[in-house]
């Protein structure tokens, strides 16, 4: 990596900024403003805003802001957003204009207005690759495991995204590792997204506004991870009227309150969710032999999302948002005086300030705090032990959006993060004896980045999105390095003083996406990206657990470097009702980490966690097909991925390449939602004569409500796992020898789910929805894991081994109730 001084990069940025101003010749004016939702005042992100006469435009930024600079004249300004009425306003542009627009949601499902159709081709028209946006409303009607709507499980059904197994909310993007996804909640990094050992994500759908997933062609304003960005935006809170909504589900109950603090100026939202497994468990274990195993155990999780925003002036606005969530697992065995308590969770806080320097220059400044903690407290008689780990970030960001002329959309900015890593550490005591668990050796690091990116319409057909990111990472003292020989014996201890530089890495990360548009219906795009990743997660190959520990790059651990090449063809059909695409990608990943074979992660007393790691490379390639129907009564998508992912580590698997556990050759998802409108409903109800005749009341009730029927089907190649292949005798015991890593495939996975949502009548102010969700309708016994049972004794000549496949969820219907007033 060659050193490019940060200031020369800044000069480069300024240079780019100046160019468009030089080429200005004709008199030009700017129309700019914010796009909001009429009913709630929420900012609309990525809404399309364009000048009808020029067929040129832009999309709103994450705060709903847009800016368009065009020559003086009379125009029609068009604002459109899926699911909302298109807004058209005549403007006379002879001075800079501010046009703030509030879009009304579409009441009737009509054919899309012609002018909108011309610009509904965002996926063909922009140069984004591998980027998918979703509104929470689309997700909420889909079937959900135990009725708990989970955005990450919907993400998993997109092409190029692999799930981490049955019911698990973990995901892997295009062969990347679980630590290679940058998961942001209102810009704050979430280091562990799962509740209940991965079965649910920490995102409470009621508090979420929108989701954006970038799996390829990551723009330069994002960095620090190789595989993807998942950008989750929280609702700002209704700034028009008070609103309370909530729900009762099989797993949890939730309640959201939002409303204006000062109408149109300031609003807030508070949203909470809690499970009740621990409340009902004692009732179960008392009277039921089957649940005896749970006696003494308890478990719950909760989330709290809060956000306040305040418009100081037309030019300034501040947002303060926070998330706090905890999982707590407890176990008590009174006979043996043994008890365990395991709390873990995330806490984040983001303070953001939007400022408009001019109609063309928007800036957001963010101060972000992010924290993940895990601890395990064990008490047995006099013996007490606490094991803990975590990561804490203090993050400052400055992001500029600059719209000099309509052909350029420039972003530049800077980012600084101060990381504090706490590796697995322990403290233990037995009565009066304090065990010597050494000092807690935290790892302190500074991570910084500067970036500039320009989305530039070179010609009408050719668009370039070129960006450059300079990133650096520096591990500093205080730190204690335990130097080990090749056998792992302690050789020496190096002590670094506070702020002493231990190791610094830096690098340039070019990102380029090109789009060539054949016509309004089809285009071809190509992307090249290089990413550096300075933080890493150590995990045991088996499964992702809350015990997974984040570590920073160090003198031993080098940054991971990923390059990705992608090529795609995008084509829309039938007035953009159908979007289709084919994307191929090839990725390489360097300096990935794994635990050494046979290493058992411990408490790091007199050791550093990175001493037990081994390093290798990854490779991944594949093709993704995507067909999406975005409007009409029937919406949904079909996604198919054909892919291959391998890792090569010198010290693992004798240096031979091996597939990752989630290397899925085939991965298919079909998702559909059908809304039964007035007309459709009449047809359906006519066919249900039986109901009409015999249950008139029922029929009336049925007709008076809107229904959504949704379903999905997924199919994936079985997980690659490591199995024992041979046994041997040692000291009279049978030991197992494992075969090549991940050389065995479990059976293929497939499953179909269905859901029916009955929307309440919108009479008065109270609205209540019921939904019935049936998971795994044909009760497929999908393999979750395989284990082996030894039966008999070798001495008696009766030793036999059975392979047993465990499946998790059979058919599971759940009813949830959701209300809003």
């Amino acid at each position: 990596m060659r050193l490019l001084k940060p200031y020369s990069l800044l000069l480069l940025m300024l240079g780019i900024l100046l160019i468009p101003n030089v080429i200005l010749a004709q008199k030009k004016y700017t129309v700019s403003g914010y796009i909001n939702e009429e009913e709630t005042g929420e900012d609309l992100i990525s809404a399309t805003v364009y000048i009808k006469e020029l067929l040129k435009g832009t999309t709103t930024n994450p705060y709903g802001f847009y800016s368009i600079t065009v020559p003086e004249g009379n125009y029609n300004l068009v604002v459109s957003y899926l699911g909302f009425e298109t807004y058209v306003q005549e403007i006379e542009l002879k001075e800079n204009l501010r046009v703030n627009v509030e879009l009304a949601s579409m009441v009737i499902t009509t054919e899309v207005v012609v002018i909108e159709a011309e610009r509904a081709d965002k996926n063909v028209n922009n140069s984004d690759m591998g980027t998918i946006e979703m509104q929470i409303e689309q997700i909420q009607v889909l079937p959900a495991l135990l009725g708990e709507v989970d955005i990450l499980k919907v993400i998993q059904m997109l092409p190029g995204v692999q799930s981490a197994g049955e019911g698990n909310s973990g995901f892997y993007v295009r062969g990347g590792g679980p630590d290679q996804n940058l998961i942001l909640l209102d810009e704050a990094v979430i280091y562990n997204v799962s509740h209940l050992f991965g079965f649910f994500s920490i995102f409470n759908a009621d508090a979420v506004k929108s989701i954006e997933l970038i799996k390829g062609g990551m723009p330069a304003n994002y960095g620090g991870r190789l595989a993807s960005v998942l950008n989750v935006t929280m609702k700002d809170g209704n700034n028009k009227k008070w609103q309370v909504e909530g729900g009762l589900g099989a797993i949890s109950s939730k309640l959201t309150i939002q409303g204006p603090i000062k109408k149109n100026v300031s609003s807030f939202i508070v949203s909470g969710r809690r499970t009740y497994y621990d409340i009902f468990l004692p009732l179960l274990t008392k009277n039921n032999e089957k649940f005896k195993a749970f006696d003494g155990s308890g478990y719950y999780f909760y989330d709290l999302n809060t956000k306040i925003n305040y418009k100081i002036s037309d030019k300034d606005r501040i947002f303060l948002s926070g998330y706090f969530g905890r999982d707590v697992f407890t176990y008590k065995q009174s006979q043996s005086n043994f008890s365990v308590r395991v709390p873990w969770g995330n806490a984040t806080m983001s303070l953001r300030w939007n400022h408009l320097f001019s109609d063309k220059l928007f800036v957001n400044t963010s101060l972000i705090f992010s924290d993940y903690k895990f601890s395990l407290e064990i008490v047995q008689n006099e013996f007490e032990m606490i094991l803990f780990s975590g990561i804490r970030d203090y993050n400052a960001k400055l992001d500029f959006n600059y719209y000099p002329v309509i052909r350029h959309n420039i972003k530049f900015g800077a980012n600084y993060i101060y990381h504090v890593f706490t590796p697995s550490s322990a403290s233990a005591s037995q009565g009066d004896v304090e065990f010597d668990t050494g000092d807690i050796i935290r790892q302190y690091a500074h991570e910084g980045a500067l970036y500039v990116t320009d989305q530039f319409d070179w010609t009408d057909k050719f668009q370039i999105n070129a960006g450059l990111r300079y990133s650096m990472f520096s591990h500093t003292g205080p730190f204690k390095r335990f130097v080990k020989d090749t056998q792992g014996n302690g050789m020496d201890t190096i002590i670094y003083k506070k702020n002493e530089n231990i190791k610094t890495y830096h690098g340039l990360e070019p990102r380029v996406t090109l789009r060539y548009r054949f016509n309004t219906k089809s285009s071809v795009k190509a992307a090249y990206t290089l990413n550096n990743q300075y933080v890493h997660m150590t995990t045991l190959a088996g499964m992702s657990l809350p015990t997974d520990v984040w570590i920073g790059s160090s003198d031993i651990v080098k940054p991971q470097i990923g390059t990705q090449y992608a090529l795609g063809y995008f084509r829309n059909f039938l007035d953009n009702k159908y979007e289709t695409s084919v994307e191929v990608y090839y990725k390489t990943m360097k300096n990935m980490i794994e635990y050494k074979d046979g290493h058992l992660p411990g408490d790091n007393v007199a050791d550093n966690p990175d001493n037990n790691l081994t390093f290798g490379d990854g490779e991944s390639y594949g093709v993704e097909l995507f067909i999406k129907k975005r409007m009409g009564d029937l919406t949904g998508w079909i996604g198919y991925t054909l892919a291959k992912t391998t890792r090569t580590f010198e010290e693992i698997n004798d240096g031979e390449p091996f597939p990752t556990r989630y290397d899925r050759r085939h991965d298919l998802a079909i998702v559909a939602a059908y809304e039964i409108d007035k007309k459709g409903k009449r047809e359906v109800s006519d066919t249900l004569k039986f109901f009409k005749r015999n249950m008139k009341k029922w029929g009336n009730w049925f007709r008076a409500r809107d229904w959504v029927i949704a379903g999905n089907f997924v199919y994936a190649t079985g997980d690659a796992i490591t199995l024992p292949v041979a046994r041997y005798m040692f000291e009279g015991k049978i030991l197992n020898e494992y075969g090549p890593r991940n050389s065995f495939r479990m059976k293929d996975y497939h499953r179909a789910d269905i859901s029916i949502t009955v929307k309440g009548r919108k009479r008065k102010r109270f609205q209540s929805d019921f939904s019935l969700s049936i998971y795994n309708i044909y009760s497929r016994a999908n393999p979750y894991f395989i284990y082996f049972k030894n039966e008999g004794e070798i001495e008696e000549g009766t030793l036999d081994i059975k392979a047993i496949q465990v499946s998790l969820f059979p058919i599971m219907p759940t009813i949830t109730w959701h209300f809003k007033f």
């Binding site: 233990a428 499964m543 030991l735 082996f788 070798i794 392979a803």
Partner: protein, 314 residues
Amino acid sequence: MSVKGKIIMLFTCVLFSLSCEKDITIDLQDIKSKIVVEGHIEPGLPPYIILSHTFPYFTYADVETLENLFVHNAVITIFDGSVHHTLQEYCSDSLPDSLAHFGALYLGVDIADLSDHNFCIYSIKADTINPANILVGELGKTYNLSVTVDGVTYTATTTLTYPVPLDAISTVVHPTNDSLFHLRGTLSDPVGAGGYYRVFTQRIGKDEYLLPIFSSIFDDHLIDGQTIDVLFRRGKRMGFTDIYTGYYSYGDTVVVKFCTMDKAHYEFWETALVEIDNTGNPIAAATQIATNMKGGALGIWGAYGAIYDTVIVN
């Protein structure tokens, strides 16, 4: 079981409540069998090597299966820093009494029945002319093992670490049954390097040979340089579980073998015992058992810095 192991077990319980199971047939690819070395040396005693090979995972196994695992006619030498000692293979028909208990432990049979079974072991050659030439373990010495089978050579090195005597051994009575006891060893761990321990016990007249206790290994990384009490729960012979398992009885005369070892030897036992613990635990990660053998063999060539005590339980 490690702490993390316990958590995984608890989690497993939760999963099992929801899950369903079915037997499946697994078609494992053919894997070439590997050589397994079980070799030890301790102070004042000659070394021994049990040389066997692995057998396919789904083999139906009985004692006869084990009898056919031994590898014969290997060339085994041990270099003690000055002399290369060549070992000799002994099988059931020529087995010296001093090696019989290894066979009994290995095959899980009584010593008296061993002659009915085939068991082979490599140890030193008798040297009646010059008994001083016989290799026995010496404290602090390093021993290089070389095993050649069908032209392929496997090597390993182990160091005979200095033993650490226990300060005291006392008894801990069962809370409700005053005829059952655990033993408690008081250990003053030396400061600094080393600190890898393993414990065996034998009830005279009840056990034919020494057996490792439950959770037979521990190390000093949390207790370096401190004095602590370690609970000894009686280990069982394979297939012999009864209500007294884990306990010594009133009046038992118990031999306690308390050993130190080098790091590689400890890591072998650490990973092997985790693997044994994990048997039947579905979601534990595959643990590759560590080995110090070079050249593709499994097992361990390990020295024990052993020291023996005898206590009477009362």
